[in-house]
Symmetry: C2
Subunit: 498 residues, 2 copies
């Protein structure tokens, strides 16, 4: 991967002094065009050999452009105090926190590549583990790209001799000797392992949608103009709308011929008497409270997802759960149509934000499943977007569970008749009338399409690690108890294995 | 993945008798539209539970459409006598052999999914191995889709009870009892493991470009019309040209500012005297012959790739190699622009065909690297196509080496001046005049673009398993010896590890 950079590239001071002001002017213009157009966000990943000009280039970028619209974030290998603390959230969480909205530029000094390279080069991760990490990165970058985030991946390169020469030169001058510390010489010893790993990683992740640029960092003039011009090219492309490309799209599988859905085949007759409900509720709330306070839970977090047709009873069920929780340790996130700042981000961004830290719970009242439910049915996103959604969602939940989250997903299932009865009741109950809108009636007309989307959702996203629990909810009492019971069982089973 | 199929779907005989003639007529028309349009090839993958109607559906497809334009191939788990014998070639080779050209339909009864599912369900492959296989499948299917092969992936499903019921019914009737054998009951015992693996595999490989359709196979009418209609939908889409889809394309990394290339930095002065050449040639040819006849070589094959600018001496070097080989064991494949039948296939197809079996050698005089050289520089393929080419090529070579091939790649490097001298010499030598065409002169004008493409090619495809050997070839004698020496060294090193 570094063969052509190894030959050494140079640019004279004179050529630099001519190129630099023009580049600077063009970059500033491109930055403002990007800001005005809002078609893409641009994320610059800065990685490479120490001493090959990473920091200097980041500084130049901020000097050349308007730094108010550039967010620069430095990431060390395993987190350092200045970074957002992931604290039990998936490792990617810290990058999602600093993702720039469309129109803006983010510079990540150190990135999701740092850890895989270091761990493999140092022998902590084997070949299979590295491959798995790289596949996750490729999936992430494919999604970011599809969602309008343009990735500018810069690798600053320097030969082993170049690094050695640089350290010697710095040490030989008393004014610069302080820049060299023993860790630099130590790192040089591992140069070959790092380079071999980096070459493999760069090759595997130089994709059509997010290629790497290897910048020979040995000459400051050459590397500055090379990195700057590539950034310019990207900013200019990013200011334009996506281009139509001929695509061989497969038709999506059809609905079942007999129109039957999972939700039809369900037993909606189950009921619970008030007395039995009251007794069981209190018992289950106590059990839940105990489980959440269990020592094993201190290393875990809890993510609850509630989905269901309108008026299925999500809100009232959630309240029965939170009654058993410590208010300092949970939050309920009601999910509606995305607002402006959410629309300027990849669709999963607004859910990444609210992932709970260790010992905490987030309850999503509707969730990322909107992508494959309402957005699919209502045509709020393209077919290409929701069809790739299943995969992206599975990967998202996999990251949560790998970081220690228990993910419990409920579909609260009611029949169309029951929904109608509840709508009518809401209309005539003054304090509930605001809960029923024209949109609810419109959604109701699309019941079969939603039922179809639910089938696909359950088929595609009910996984071992995060299965769906479909709960018959025509009887509110029965369904609340059932939800609480499933939740306690899942928690208990998970904690028992810890 | 099978939740919504588990509820059981039905279609009445009457509805079937109405739907079937219409479907049949539409399928036949769609088949001929596909044949006339030649935009896509259609490959139907037929997988699923035994007894759920796989064979019956394949028969129906052949009955409903014109079987002369359908190629049906059955693949067992580990190869059986009727299949093309891969004999040391990569496992995917047998599927590439039967890939239909554009306009045609191929039906694969059993597919690249069979082995991963069986091996994981039976405990032969662990989780990591399954993941790696699935990633390879996803990459393959992405490439096939991008190259215009539409994949129709059918999974015939039946519940465990359904399978048991079916076996009992068959056994209870003397006329059908012969259809059941002990292996069927044995398989039923492993139903749950198979289903769990299959669900995971289907979820991970239900991509936007190639989704799975799970067909409930318990009712013959329902499954026939469901599978037929989905095939129809696919044939109709396949007869249309690819649709333009808005795509966030990243700009490709720029050429080095100083215009320097790997090929410039090379020592072209090396020479060899005729006498030394003659002696060394014979010695090396003997060494090569011995290596190829080594016992360890019986389990391996050899793939040689020769690339280089026009007149770099590829042909004459290849002759010095074949002089040391047994004519029954090698073939030389000269690669020019693809012919009509090659253009109707994914670009790697014509190279897959010639992969050598065990103990054999294929020498490619130019190769799949045309994708990222001439096709890139001359614009014969889209930017999207050559940018994904590096990855596809690395995966191709990885499959070769995993199957035991030794892959040795040479770039024969000459200077522009040397090329000019050789062109002039060819013009004036009667028996060589045919070797020089207008195209050669045109290519020469694009030397810098080719040099740039060579840099990227070497950076991106010089891997541990299949590194590039750049050989200075201004002096023909020196270069032939160098090629032979490198080849012997690579073979010796590989065989020594066996």
């Amino acid at each position: 991967m570094f063969e052509s950079a190894d030959i050494g590239h140079r640019m004279g001071r004179k050529a630099y002094r001519e190129a630099e002001p023009l580049l600077r002017q063009a970059l500033l213009k491109a930055q403002f065009d990007l800001l005005a157009s809002k078609h893409h966000a641009v994320v610059v990943l800065v990685n490479g050999v120490d001493g090959a000009g990473k920091g200097e280039t980041v500084n130049l970028f901020n000097e050349w452009m308007d730094p108010r619209h550039i967010r620069t974030e430095a990431f060390a290998n395993r987190g350092k105090p200045s970074e957002p603390l992931s604290d039990g959230r998936p490792p990617m969480w810290r990058y999602w926190q600093v993702l720039p909205p469309k129109g803006h530029i983010g510079v990540l000094f150190g990135s999701w590549y740092t850890e895989p390279i270091v761990r493999h080069a140092m022998g902590d991760d084997g070949k299979a583990r590295l491959q798995a990490r790289l596949e996750n990165i490729r999936a992430l970058e494919r999604m970011l790209s599809a969602e309008g985030v343009m990735l500018v991946k810069l690798w600053f390169h320097m030969t082993k001799d170049g690094v050695r020469q640089r350290l010697k030169t710095l040490e030989s001058d008393p004014k610069t000797a302080w820049r060299v510390n023993p860790a630099d010489w130590e790192r040089l010893k591992h140069y070959d392992e790092y380079q071999a790993t980096a070459a493999k990683v760069l090759r595997k992740t130089s994709t059509a949608e997010a290629p790497w640029l290897v910048v020979d960092g040995s000459d400051p003039c050459y590397r500055a103009i090379t990195a700057g011009q590539y950034l310019l090219q990207n900013l200019q492309r990013a200011a334009l709308p996506p281009e139509p490309v001929p695509t061989h799209a497969a038709p999506q599988p059809p609905a079942p011929l007999d129109g039957r859905s999972l939700l039809d085949g369900f037993d909606y007759q189950r009921k619970l008497a008030r007395k039995a409900y009251d007794d069981t509720l209190e018992r289950l709330q106590g059990r839940l409270n105990g489980l959440l306070r269990a020592p094993a839970m201190q290393k875990r977090s809890l993510v609850l997802v509630f989905e269901g047709m309108d008026a299925a009873g999500k809100g009232s069920t959630i309240r029965r759960i939170t009654q058993a929780m410590d208010a300092r340790h949970y939050r309920v996130i009601p999910v509606a149509a995305p607002n402006e700042s959410e629309r300027a981000q990849p669709y999963l961004w607004r859910f990444w934000r609210y992932l709970p830290q260790r010992q905490h719970t987030t309850i999503f009242d509707r969730s990322w499943y909107g992508r494959v439910l309402v957005e699919r049915v209502e045509g709020f996103c393209s077919e290409a977007a929701w069809t790739r959604g299943y995969d992206e969602i599975n990967a998202f939940e996999e990251q949560m569970t790998e970081a220690g989250a228990v993910v419990v997903k409920f579909w609260m299932a009611i029949t169309p008749d029951e929904q109608l009865a509840r709508f009518e009741a809401r209309k005539t109950t003054p304090h509930k009338a605001h809960k029923i809108t024209d949109e609810d009636w419109r959604n109701r007309d699309k019941w079969p399409q939603y039922a179809r989307a639910v089938d696909d959702m359950i088929d595609r996203t009910s996984t071992d690690i995060a299965p769906w629990h479909v709960v018959a909810s025509n009887d509110k009492l029965w369904s609340r108890i059932e939800v609480l019971r499933v939740l306690c069982d899942r928690l208990e089973a998970t904690l028992a294995k810890d």
